[in-house]
Symmetry: C2
Subunit: 284 residues, 2 copies
Amino acid sequence: MNSHAWTAPPTVMLTVGGNFHLGDVDPDSTPGFEHARRTGEHQLEARRDHLSDLQERLYAESRRREAPDAVLLVLQAMDTAGKGGIVRHVVGGVDPQGVELAAFKAPTDEERAHDFLWRVEKRLPAPGMIGVFDRSHYEDVLIARVRGLAPPEEIERRYGAIVDFERRVAQSGTRIVKVMLHISPDEQKARLMERLERPDKHWKYNPGDVDERALWDDYMAAYQAAFERTHTHEAPWYVVPANSKWYARLAVQELLIAALEDIDPRWPRADFNIETEKKRLAAS
Amino acid sequence: MNSHAWTAPPTVMLTVGGNFHLGDVDPDSTPGFEHARRTGEHQLEARRDHLSDLQERLYAESRRREAPDAVLLVLQAMDTAGKGGIVRHVVGGVDPQGVELAAFKAPTDEERAHDFLWRVEKRLPAPGMIGVFDRSHYEDVLIARVRGLAPPEEIERRYGAIVDFERRVAQSGTRIVKVMLHISPDEQKARLMERLERPDKHWKYNPGDVDERALWDDYMAAYQAAFERTHTHEAPWYVVPANSKWYARLAVQELLIAALEDIDPRWPRADFNIETEKKRLAAS
C-alpha cells in the first residue's frame, strides 16, 4: 500500500487555511483516509521503510555534500493527545542516529532570564537530521497566554518573533512541520481515567492535568490565535484529529514523508575513485 | 522464546576475565547461542518488548521516585564492525524518548584544550535514560596510542583516570556496559568492498579506512591493553564476536537487558489519592 490509500494528501487535508476554525475540526474524524483502523495500522507499517529510506538519504547527503537540509517536526497538543505515541511509533521507525529529540518543559530560571527563543535555537536540528520538538516555543503563546504568564503585549510581540525566527530557520534549509494533535475533552477524560486505573500508568498522571481541563476553551482560543498569527508558507500548521491514535500517527508519518520528499535527498556520489579504492582494499 | 535460548548468559560468556586474550576470540563464533541465524533473528524480535518494558520502567522510576539509575552502553569497534546496526536494531527497539545517543568523532579544538574526559562527562545519560556512546573516551587510549597522538606516559595516566571516572559514574547510579564488537580483518574487507560496490553505500566509505587496516595488530594490542587496565567490577568489558551481525545484536540486547534487570526498576506508586482524583476527573 502507498500514499494512494489516501483520497487526498494530509498536507492538503489537514493544513490550516484562510478561513480555518479549530472548532470546525471533528477530533473523531479521519480526513482523507476512508479505511478502518486495521488498514490504517497496516499502512503505518507499510510506509515505515519509505520514511526510513528517506531519512537515511537525508543523513547521507549532509555527510558528503554538506547539504543544509533538515526537518523539524513541532508537536503541540493538550495532555494525553498522543505526542509520545507519535515519537515512539512514527519517529521510532527511523534510525535513532538520524533523530534529535527535544522535550521542552517549564523553563528553568536560566532559560527564563533569556528571550523565549533562546533555548529553542539551541535545539534546532543539525543538517541531515530530523528534529522533533515535544512542545516548543508555542508554549510561550499558549499556556503563557491562558495562564497570563506574560503580559498581552509581550504575547503579541512573540507571534511576530516566531514568524521571523521560523522564516530564518526555513531559509537555512530546515523544513518545518508544525502539528497540533487535536483531541476532544471527553477523549482526554477517558485517557486520564485509564492512567488512574492502571498502576503502570500512574506515573504519567498529574493532578494538575484536571485543573487545566477547566481552561479547555481558553486553550483552544489560544491555539486558534497561534494558527492565525504563525501559519506561514515556510512553516505551515497542520491540525491532526487525534481521538483515533492510529489515524494521528498515520497522518504525521505522511506529513514527515512529504517534507522529506520535498527535499528529495539523493545518495551522494563518491568523492573518491571507486576502482582505485577497490584495488587498494584488495591489496590490504 | 526467552533468555533460556542461551546455554549460558552473555554476561558470563563474553566478559573479559583474568586470563583474557583477544587473540583467542573467534570473530565467527556465537558463544552461548547454539542456534542458527534465523532463530537468532526471531529471538531479537521476541526480546524487544521485554527490553522496551524495562526501559519504560527505568524512565518512569526516575520521574516519580527520583531514582538515580541509568544505563550507559559504550560501543567500541574497528570500522564496519556494526556499531550503527546495534544502535538501529537493538537500541532502536525502545522508545527514543528514553535514549541519549552520543557519537564521539575526532575532538574539536575546544575539546582538545580540555582534559580528554571533559566532553564525555557532558554526555553522560541523565537518570532514567539509556545512554549510548558510539565511540567514547576509549578512543583516547586506542587511536591515541596506535597513532601516537599522545605520549606514552599520558596514555598510562589515562587508564587510571578512566577507572576513577567510571567508578564515580557507577557510584552515582549508572550501570556501565562496555562492548567491543570484534570482527576479523577479512570480514572488514568484505564489508568495505560492499560499500564500494553499492552506490547507496558510497557515502559510508572513507579511503582512510584502508590505511587503518595496516595497523590492525596495533589496534588489537591497544584493545588488549585497555581491557587489562580498565576492566573493573563497576564497568566490565564484553568482547562480542561480530562477524555474524545477528549474533552481535542479540548479545548486546541481552547485555542491556541484564543491566536493566539488575536495576530492577518498578512502576512508581501514585503520589496522589487515586479515588480522590477519579472523582475530580469525573466531575471535570
